[in-house]
Symmetry: C2
Subunit: 225 residues, 2 copies
DNA sequence: AAAAAGCTATGACCTAGGTCAAGTTTGCGG
DNA sequence: CCGCAAACTTGACCTAGGTCATAGCTTTTT
């Protein structure tokens, strides 16, 4: 399916582009639907362009021979993914899979580089975007090796609370997926939630989590090691 | 101390720039000496520009309240560091410390952005550079959470063997520092080395490590979980 | 070369958290 | 509204690897 200028305008990637430019770009982008569980690309696939989530939710992850998986990020509507392969190395470093029925936009490397040439602002925006991602990875690596599961969980809940702004926050994914993002497994996550609940810091009801004691949760999150 | 065009020409960051351009840039860059153990910047410091190692060795790491540290990368001569703060967020996300007496070059954000504007090629090179770093982090996150220490160690040795090209390879840092890079501690690294040695895969003599059984080492490195 | 300071090895011990195995609950397709 | 498949919880168990303590070794300083 073809993209429309309206859809493109919603993507953070194209923020600030003129309506005329969007019309031209719309012709060059393709939108496709992917079913729940379907892969947009696999690690090692040649990357001929970049993607963005139009609707739905996509997870980027790496698997291991033993079957365990580590989620690197969840991509929400408006956000691009798979950019790394456009600028370096050409093979995707991880798998991308739709977690719910989703629509994804594709733009070829050629078209993106053309756009970048005509609109250098885009390049700077991309640098800022990759820098942000780098910053997040720095955080993720440090958390994985320096903190224990309850601390990582607490930090996640605080971040989510901040972003959602509403107090009983809602997990945007299954607990198993969250565990995989936090570098652990379902069982351990379940026990950690229980523990925080037992300490009176949170209250859990399905995917809804209410934060009862903000400052105590913060001190759990800071526990390093 | 002022930078010279010759020094700048050696930096991967300025690869491909004309000699005239290098002369102009040399006036804008400052080179300073840092002692072993001295910090170039600390996490949270405002980032007003980027750095590159001219000589010596710099490590980028994050500490935890409990005193443990996770090394994110070792920066060798010619390589830039601290770029992330130039494009995003303005505070450095980690600490940078000289591991041996070193010389580092500094270029202000302003000067770098001026250069980027005049020479768009630099921007694309920077995109490629950040993409490579992102790719490495993807790898590091996955290794930390999916593999055990001996597997991470084996993977490191294979990479180092490849890069150095000589068989008894030489560790470029202390074993304690290597442990911190691999997300573990001295003692565990020591035992892992011993184990690989006991299995006849490597032979260790101080910082020199000879690889005896390449394919066995590869299969240890691939063990996921 | 002696002394101080950092590195490395190794042993005894302990715990966070992964594995395996039942259940139980939730939510979706028919 | 039913039934089946995920998703989730809970318990018993086990192990990788972190902690603590000690001692040998190597390098730099004086």
């Amino acid at each position: 399916m073809d993209a429309t200028p309206e859809i493109l305008g919603e993507l953070s990637l194209f923020e600030g582009l003129s309506p005329e430019r969007l019309v031209v770009l719309a012709e060059r982008c393709r939108i496709s639907s992917v079913n729940k569980g379907e892969h947009v690309f696999r690690a090692g696939d040649p990357g001929n362009g970049l993607y963005a989530v139009v609707s739905g939710l996509v997870r980027i992850y790496r698997g291991s021979p033993g079957g365990k998986e580590q989620v690197l990020h969840f991509i929400e509507p408006g956000e691009p993914f798979g950019e790394v392969a456009v600028f370096q190395g050409d093979a995707f470093p991880a798998d991308a899979q739709a977690m719910v029925p989703s629509q994804v936009l594709f733009m070829s490397r050629r078209d993106f580089l053309d756009l970048a040439r005509q609109d250098p602002e885009i390049t700077l925006q991309m640098l800022a975007r990759l820098s942000l991602r780098l910053r997040r990875f720095v955080h993720q690596v440090a958390e994985l090796s320096l903190k224990e599961v309850p601390a990582r969980l607490a930090a996640y809940l605080l971040k989510e609370l901040e972003e959602q702004g509403s107090n009983p926050l809602t997990l945007p994914m299954s607990k198993g997926q969250l565990a995989s993002f936090l570098g652990t497994i379902q069982e351990t996550l379940s026990r950690s939630l229980k523990r925080l609940e037992g300490q009176g810091l949170i209250v859990v009801k399905g995917r809804e989590i209410g934060v009862l004691d903000l400052s105590a949760l913060q001190s759990v999150a800071e526990q390093g090691r």
